[in-house]
Symmetry: C2
Subunit: 342 residues, 2 copies
């Protein structure tokens, strides 16, 4: 009862054609008579033929597979981008191979290598800052890759993202414009994270242009999570005092929301005693705090564009080397009340 899965040769025989013709027919080649094509397709359907990807990949030297190497999937920041990526790929009959390295550059090299062994036709990375060894492997494997979420200052790699530094500077500038002069930053871990570093650098640059310094003690690194935001804010308060700063720039949504929650828990009014700005990767901010000013990052676009660019390149089309995604400072009203404790 357990039949051997049908192979292309079975389909060919059933349709009364040769292997080559069967192959062409199923590939939709124009070289076969429409009539023949139908016949082949019918027998394929009848036999429940499922192409054998490995054999196809071996012969065609293409796997119809794209790899994505993320720091982690568990961070909602990357979820919508990954979803969009996967969707766009599926539309083009490509499939996504996913790997994560949890901010460990060694692990990143390892998982990337695993993807290369799987024969991915292209790769998506997060950020442009990677172990040199990674680039060696990439170039030797000759796999087109597309870093996202950041731009390559050197203009060396293809990439699609936005200028984290400038965006973050706009956040700080917004606070400056509101009259704030004492600042603090809640950042994600800066190690092995060029996006986070750029964002801090942006704040520093904006403040510097007004002669304000941002010493290291005013920057707290904390996990990318609500708990991280809460704990980070407590750490800042402990270090600098409750009125050590009135303007707070957060590295991303989850941290910003955590900070807001901590404010609510401590009875600190926002905006008021404290004004918070941050990056809105995941669009939670709008719902949670209509008062929160954010840089809105269209994560889904990033994923979609990455897919489109990669597929275009595989198809031999040329794409602009660098694609800058416009990001927008969303000021959600300054009079909104602080979030309540729930």
């Amino acid at each position: 009862m357990k039949k051997r899965p049908a192979r292309l040769s079975d389909v060919a025989r059933a349709a009364g054609v040769s292997l080559a013709t069967a192959s062409r027919a199923l590939a939709g080649s124009d070289l076969v008579l429409p009539d023949t094509r139908e016949r082949v397709r019918n027998s394929a359907a009848l036999l429940g033929y499922v192409p054998h990807g490995a054999a196809r990949a071996l012969a065609s030297r293409r796997s119809r597979t794209i790899g994505a190497v993320l720091p982690t999937i568990d961070n909602p920041i990357f979820a919508s981008a990954t979803q969009a990526l996967s969707r766009a790929l599926a539309n083009a009959s490509y499939t996504l191979l996913l790997a994560s390295h949890e901010y460990d550059p060694q692990a990143e090299v390892a998982v990337t290598r695993a993807l290369i062994e799987r024969g991915v036709d292209g790769l998506v990375f997060v950020g442009v800052d990677h172990a040199p060894q990674l680039f060696h492997e990439l170039s030797r494997a000759d796999v087109p890759c597309e870093p996202v979420w950041a731009l390559d200052p050197g203009g060396f790699h293809h990439c699609v993202g936005f200028a984290n530094r400038e965006a973050s500077a706009r956040c700080a500038q917004h606070l400056l414009d509101l009259g704030h002069r004492r600042f603090a930053v809640l950042s994600g871990s800066l190690q092995h994270n060029d996006r986070a570093r750029e964002r801090v650098a942006g704040v520093r640059a904006a403040l510097a242009s007004r002669g304000i310094e941002l010493p290291a003690e005013r920057v707290v690194e904390t996990p990318f999570s609500l708990g991280g935001g809460r704990g980070g804010l407590r750490a800042l308060w402990q270090r600098l005092g409750r009125d050590g700063f009135t303007g707070l720039v957060c590295g991303n949504d989850l941290i910003a929301l955590g900070a807001l929650i901590e404010c609510a828990a401590q009875g600190v009014s926002v905006p008021g005693a404290l004004s918070v700005v941050g990056f809105d990767d995941i669009e939670l901010s709008a719902e949670f705090s209509p008062a929160l000013t954010t840089i809105h990052v269209p994560s889904a676009d990033i994923g979609r564009f990455a897919a489109e660019r990669l597929l275009s390149r595989l198809a031999g089309k040329r794409v602009p080397r660098m694609q800058e995604i416009p990001v927008e400072l969303v000021v959600r009203g300054s009079t909104a009340r602080a979030p309540r404790r729930l």
Copy 2:
């Protein structure tokens, strides 16, 4: 300058052994002299040899690849499970192929087929309720699969998850114990989602045991998001009035949090006028609302177990057909009794 990538035959020649020996050496077989093995490994490293996955898969009939078919990656509910899955697989030199269908059963069949074509050695699904066609394809392809996040009432499939219905009944029971008698439910979309349906059924069962009915008008379907929670609660209030219900059961975290946010925005005290319980898939609740009672779902465990089970089965070991993950009702303080009037 662009060298052809090194093949196994190159390694073999460089090491002065045959193809077969080289293969065995790199596979770590005990049948080769330790000395020979070293020699082979050295030349492999020297040449920068990278195994060709497709060829290996073709010859060995194994891709060292596992597929996961999710409703969507964009929902944080699935993120930590997927992360855990990916991590566990990577540890065993497996890679994750990811696909999503956005709650469309047709799409689910299509993407699953795509994964099967890619030659996945195993598959993970969400829930046990799928198009019959899906099971046809699966059995014909003879791919072991592991539904997660639910248990199979028929005991037909392997699976790892928990009893959504009973868990949800515990939520409702908790509210009953607090004296609540008027209920409403904010569910995710019920269509093509057995988990959501089971959760509603659980509430209904618990209430029925106290002679309380839950007519359809008291159940609102809303997107799995904060916005969905907010909008859904508004819809319920509009339909049933502000004091049409004092106990609210939410289908998951995001919805529950959205509801809480809406309460805050409308000045409704929680717990007080309203008591909310829900599923805590993503552990936001603890940070956000120390008062929220939830069923805590250890998503990461689900992913890890799915990986372990699948890999065990591939290794020929037997695993218990069904694995029930314990879930826990977490009462986070200030339990609200039902309001004392009428």
